[in-house]
Symmetry: C2
Subunit: 114 residues, 2 copies
DNA sequence: GCATATATGTCGGGTTTCTAGGCATTATCA
DNA sequence: TGATAATGCCTAGAAACCCGACATATATGC
């Protein structure tokens, strides 16, 4: 009923994460925070989505992980982009643009002639 | 490797269908064709996605169906927007715009200061 | 008679996300 | 000191949605 929750569009999260990591290596918790800040609170990534996504991206060799000390002096898993990941990200950015264009065509389609 | 298939972004299909139907009542097969034409072949809606989506939209009272004779002289199920469906569609269009803006913020985010 | 286009539908499988937890450490504040 | 919040990682189960494959039927044209 209420459905007031902002649900992430499926398939978008991977790209967003890759892009945030491309800004500089970061760990999961910080990635989620950055994503929320940059998007002005639009994206609120839940942990149940975040960590599976990170593992997925690592499995596909788009991210690589390394345990290091975080800003707060605690151990955290820092992710960085692989070459493959950067290529994939760039391709996905292009693809996203095409998708937005295509949706735009539909949304702006004029009413049919009778 | 190749994975060249263009997969529809999950959650977009409903909006696209509602928008196409808003252009004028139509049946499933024609909706898929229009979607493909309008989007310049970007969207190719498969039957396994199309018909479940139509039933879903009807269940939610966003579309209503009526059997009529199609252009080719055959019986076809014509869908039209309900008032509820139109309201939902308009809200989803706004939401889509916000989503695109938010993704845009992330994709255009400048590299961090060190 | 047969292929193709039109037209609707189902089924199973795969992917992704959410909810809802669990666990551990450090910082803050009463 | 003790409680609570913030930081940081993780998993399991369920739901939603899309795809590929398949099944069915009629109309048209060769």
């Amino acid at each position: 009923m209420s459905e007031a929750r902002i649900e992430l569009l499926r398939g978008t999260l991977d790209l967003l994460i890759l892009k945030v990591v491309a800004l500089g290596p970061s760990h999961g918790y910080a990635i989620a925070q950055r994503l929320q800040q940059i998007s002005k609170d639009f994206f609120q990534v839940h942990q149940g989505s975040l960590y599976p996504a990170l593992h997925r991206l690592e499995d596909r060799d788009w991210l690589q992980a390394e345990w290091k000390e975080s800003e707060t002096g605690r151990e955290a898993k820092f992710y960085s982009l692989t070459k493959k990941g950067r290529r994939h990200m760039e391709a996905e950015v292009v693809n996203w643009g095409r998708l937005v264009d295509a949706v735009g065509l539909v949304l702006r389609a004029p009413a049919k002639e009778s």
